[in-house]
Symmetry: C2
Subunit: 319 residues, 2 copies
DNA sequence: TTTCTGTGATGCCCTCGGAGTATCAGTTCC
DNA sequence: GGAACTGATACTCCGAGGGCATCACAGAAA
């Protein structure tokens, strides 16, 4: 591994060489470079000695490039150009015009608010790349704490210290059931109607908040649910319902595009509630690219197709 | 056009930054770089001021990269690498391991000696690119004089001053005639047999030496040729012969792969002679890449499939 | 041939910036 | 509260880079 770069020349030498090579005339090049001619002669001599190669064939009357000089000149411009762009790139990164934001999300986020946010963000900040990872709430929380994730779209449990969150979505769930299910003919269901029906749920660890609210809703309705299967990610629950293994809960937002063999019905009375937040690590100096993303994600979310009344005031704002 | 590159930083700044960014520790980085820690602190501060961007987030106890610093670090290595390769490339060019040789050639050269030379040269000097242009002798001579051509494979006329040449090929021509031609049944022909047959030749200007030797051979045989067509490049003469428009001269070397409709027959007695030389501009300091090519082209040419006795001693050698 | 003009190289001196030493100011751990 | 460690600052020194004057040489002009 090249741990050290030691250069036998300086950028000054290279810039001087370039000008002499372009003009093939020391005096004029010196004038262009705004230095005296002797300084230029010395600088070129130093560069030649540093490289161990003669760069110019000088007669008393003419200056010509040697093959080595020609090779150097040919290769020099791209290098100088990318060197010059270094500062611009660094400034762009500082201004949040470049960068990478690592984003975690759950299936509900991708089914609801996330696509619109991504599209808009890419429009506003084309220089910032996004890295998207679907992962459960629990994993996102630890990744956020470890700094492996810039921000996450997840389902909040208790508030985690050091984490700022902003509520994006709060929806009463409905029920997804096989189309041929007896209850599918009703327009609306109640939890207690489902006492005898096996449920498809998910491992509590992945989203304990929603899991617990679900069981609380059952308790409130005076029913003990029959949990037939646990599956993850939740999107796979649709397949199990379709196969007739049971019914499951689902947000109305998620229920827009469904196969024919399943039916979505809203719940009246007690119902589990899904909450989606965007969360990021509290910090006084947020990465500019991340700050830009969070700013967009926490904007007034009317354009996400949610009715304004379903949303509480913002919990926190970056910066 | 960016005529001037002015850098607000030096390579020293960049190398220092890189080391601090890698170690995230000023004191240890200073030790690695073999400077005192204050010098490093100042250099980084200067770089930050020059770029107008904070590169490190320093607490009294910890150093971290800012987004700008991360961006700079990410982009820096490739630039430093190509910068470091500059000297190697220049040295390689001086040593003749890099470069470009512009080569002119005629059809005869490509049909005989050139392919083997090109193959061997590419094997020995993979870093040197070759630019190949087919052009007549006259054009090559002026291009060589003007420096637009490094060396040429052509048919010598009078020796041109300032040009070094080396004879590669000297062959008595035979005759190429349509397969159904009456004379095609003979194993060998004489020029005077061809008195009544129309000839396909070429404009004298393109190769006056061979043209004149051809007419001289006719005169020696006591025949005045009937010139039916003039065509250039000479390879196209095969097509005309094939079409039955006449016969033409050809080297045995060229006559190895021919269509069925034409027949090659050697000449006994007087016959025009083709000469092929490689020539280059006489100079005390030849471009290393060109020198390498000329050295190969003027090597003992046995491997070109020519009998040694048909070749005079080398006329000149580079260097 | 001689003179003149223009080329890049060299000698001398000065200045400015980078480096080292010593030290400071703040943080963390015991 | 002290010890140990961090990066930043003050001060001095020195050498690299620059300018000015000049040299050595090659063509052009007379």
């Amino acid at each position: 591994m090249p741990s050290e770069y030691q250069f036998p020349f300086t950028l000054r030498h290279l810039a001087y060489f370039r000008e002499v090579a372009r003009q093939l005339h020391f005096r004029r090049a010196a004038e262009t470079l705004a230095v005296a001619q002797p300084a230029l002669s010395r600088a070129i001599a130093q560069l030649e000695q540093a490289l161990g190669v003669r760069l110019f064939a000088r007669t008393r009357r003419e200056v010509a490039l040697t093959p080595a000089g020609a090779a150097l000149l040919r290769q020099l411009d791209p290098v100088l150009r990318s060197l010059a762009s270094l500062s611009d790139e660094a400034r762009a990164a500082a201004a949040g015009e470049r960068g990478l934001v690592r984003i975690g999300f759950t299936g509900l986020a991708m089914a609801t608010v996330l696509p619109a946010i991504l599209r808009e963000f890419h429009r506003r900040h084309p220089g910032i790349r996004l890295e998207l990872n679907e992962s459960p709430t629990s994993a996102q929380l630890s990744d956020l704490a470890a700094g492996d994730l810039g921000c996450g779209f997840f389902h909040p449990d208790a508030t985690t210290p050091g984490l700022a969150t902003h509520l994006l979505l709060r929806e009463r769930n409905g029920v997804l059931l096989p189309a041929e299910h007896a209850l599918a003919r009703r327009r609306e269901l109640r939890l207690r109607d489902l006492a005898a029906t096996p449920f498809v749920l998910f491992p509590r660890v992945h989203n304990p908040g929603f899991y617990d609210r679900t069981l609380a809703a059952f308790a409130q309705a005076g029913v003990t649910p029959r949990i037939a299967e646990e599956v993850w990610p939740r999107a796979n629950a649709v397949g199990l319902v379709r196969a007739g293994l049971g019914v499951t809960f689902m947000c109305p937002s998620e229920a827009r595009t469904l196969p024919d063999e399943v039916t979505f019905r809203p719940l009246s009375g007690p119902a589990p509630e899904s909450r989606l937040v965007v969360g990021w690590k509290q910090s006084e100096s947020l990465d500019p690219a991340l700050a830009a993303f969070v700013a967009l994600a926490t904007e007034t979310p009317r354009r996400n197709g949610l009715s304004a009344r379903s949303l509480p005031p913002a919990a926190a704002r970056p910066r």
